[in-house]
Amino acid sequence: MADYFQEMGWRELEDGEQPNHLLHMARFLIDFGHYDDYLTGEWPRLPPAASKEAVKNLQEIVIQTENKECPICLKKFQVNEKAKEMPCHHLFHEKCIITWLNQTNSCPFCRYELPTDDEEYEAFKKQKLRAEQRKEDIETLHNSMFS
């Protein structure tokens, strides 16, 4: 059971602590499909900037082959020129990709997402993942019962 509580982000009440009824109500509503559009739908605006940490940790590599271009400015890289590499292995000029990541957290080429420093957005992503997981679980259960 500990795993279940952990997964749900729950813990036992401290001595003398009262349950947070508003929080319970909110979880109840979410679990029964209310607020779906807001919490499990789409993020309503451009996702926030990538976290400073993630931007700092981008790999720097030296271009070895000709004819590669930076997808942001569309300029061809010179051999031996330095470039920044995203975890999805797409390459950009440092100036280009940093301007972009200061605005939003995904690869301009394939939308691979870096972590952000925005708590609300991270919570939204977690919630979305949980909703997907739940849908899969229900489907598995349904299939095991009816097939």
Binding site: W43, I72, C73, L74, C96, W100, Q103, P108
Partner: protein, 199 residues
């Protein structure tokens, strides 16, 4: 205009001009002024849609912050489509808003708009009236879209019955486009359209 924006548009312009789509006549791109801030796009209506045979002009405005922000694009040619305003030509397409990515180009954006003509997103409408017709009377929607394509975009198939109804309102001294909009909005019921125009 910011240096990176102008430089990128110039590179893109070359890319579009050398593309298969331009060679095949599916899309076109032209400069409007020398400053590279405004361009004119052209797409042809995709086959097996009511837009087939039509040629649609788009206004493209490139912001200073391009490619970090999307270009502003609207239809100049009037079009009957759930995701395009029949009044302003404004387009509801996610990649022109919060799904923009800096690696998208004018070529890929024009192709996406062309794809939107093949597959409307009725769940995310720009024009509520058109979207309602699209959902509730598909046949009428297809005819209306084909009629608009014929009248405004040079499409091949005239709808005789619709032309007659527009003519009836013209005879009453009503502006042609206003008449067409009213009739399209009221599912081509002459009486209701007339009532609305004179109220």
């Amino acid at each position: 205009m910011a240096n990176i924006a102008a430089k990128r548009i110039k590179r893109e312009f070359k890319e579009v001009m050398n593309s298969e789509e331009v060679a095949g006549g599916y899309i076109k791109l032209a400069l409007v002024n020398d400053s590279w801030t405004e361009l004119q796009g052209t797409i042809v209506g995709p086959p097996d849609t009511p837009y087939e045979g039509g040629t649609f002009q788009l206004e493209i405005k490139v912001p200073e912050t391009y490619p970090f922000n999307p270009p502003k694009i609207r239809f100049v040619t009037k079009i009957w489509h759930p995701n395009v305003s029949s009044v302003t030509g404004a387009i509801c397409l996610d990649i022109l808003k919060d799904q923009w990515a800096a690696a998208l180009t004018l070529r890929t954006v024009l192709l996406s708009i062309q794809a939107l003509l093949s597959a409307a997103e009725a769940g995310d409408p720009q024009d509520a009236v058109v979207a309602k017709q699209y959902r509730e009377s598909q046949q009428l929607f297809l005819l209306t879209a084909r009629h608009w394509t014929n009248v405004y975009a040079g499409g091949p198939s005239a709808i005789w019955e619709f032309d007659q109804k527009v003519q009836r309102l013209l005879d009453m001294g009503i502006d042609e486009h206003e008449a067409r909009v009213a009739l399209s909005h009221y599912d081509w019921e002459l009486e209701r359209a007339t009532e609305q125009l004179f109220s």
